[in-house]
Amino acid sequence: MIPASHIMIFSMILFTVGMLGVLTRRNAIIVLMGIELMLNSANINFIAFSRQLGDMAGQIFGIFTIVVAAGEVAVGLAIIIALFRNKDTINIDEIDIMKG
């Protein structure tokens, strides 16, 4: 069987990679993808623990995570579109009229 720690480390790597995406990519859409990756990594944890504990709560949590993630993507992409209409860019580096 697979030790839980391995799954945790795997999920953590995924989490870190997703985070890197959020931190480094200039394309707002890819930033969004990074967030999706992070959410997925959390989900892996939930499923793994659910299995380990023999408890359904984790899986249920996972389902809700997916639902929320879907909702977030919808809203996020809508925001990006609205922004693109106004600014003609989705480069997150160029979105800085407010600062200071």
Binding site: A4, F10, I29, M33, D55, I60, A78, I80
Partner: protein, 168 residues
């Protein structure tokens, strides 16, 4: 090593590699495709972990719904008009930060009591198949969150409509 373990490690490494591809590909389309691949791998891992229903949801929602949405938007927004090259130094800094965080987390896991982390995977929750179990839980015990989730989706819907349509 068991078969399931072999499958897990394979899928896990694939997922990690494709996740790295997601965050490093210059083209958003490529990134999206690698994201789909990652999701598939994760769905496989769900199956290994006996969460078949979740794996199905993962594939349906992510690979089916979310990905289409992504691709729609990517097509809508002419991304290639401008090169989007992440500055190397920025990446290095982020890597350092993420590395630091990862290191601290890993040191954490090592230091943590074995019981919590090194436990072998247990058995799937009892009572019928996974789908049935999920269904029973979801619609009885977790009915209220489920209802709220419907509101969540409604909000997302309103949001998409309000923000994406051209005029108020």
């Amino acid at each position: 090593m068991e078969a399931s373990a072999i499958v897990f490690y394979t899928l896990a490494s694939m997922a990690v590699v494709s996740a790295v591809m997601v965050v490093t590909r210059r083209s958003a389309v490529h990134a999206a495709l690698f994201l789909v691949l990652t999701f598939f791998c994760v769905a496989g891992i769900y199956i290994v972990l006996s969460a078949e229903f979740l794996a199905a949801v993962q594939v349906l929602v992510y690979a089916g719904g979310v990905m289409v949405l992504y691709l729609f938007v990517i097509m809508l927004v002419p991304l290639q008009a401008r090169p989007l090259k992440p500055p190397v130094r920025h990446v290095a800094g982020s890597l350092l930060l993420a590395g630091l965080l990862a290191a601290s987390l890993i040191s954490y896991f090592w230091n943590a009591t074995p019981s919590a982390t090194a436990r072998e995977m247990g058995y799937p929750p009892a009572g019928g198949g996974n789908i049935e179990a999920v269904g029973m839980e979801l619609y009885r015990r977790y009915l209220l969150p489920f209802e709220i989730a419907s509101v969540t989706l409604l909000v997302a819907m309103i949001g998409a409509v309000v923000l994406a349509r051209k005029k108020v």
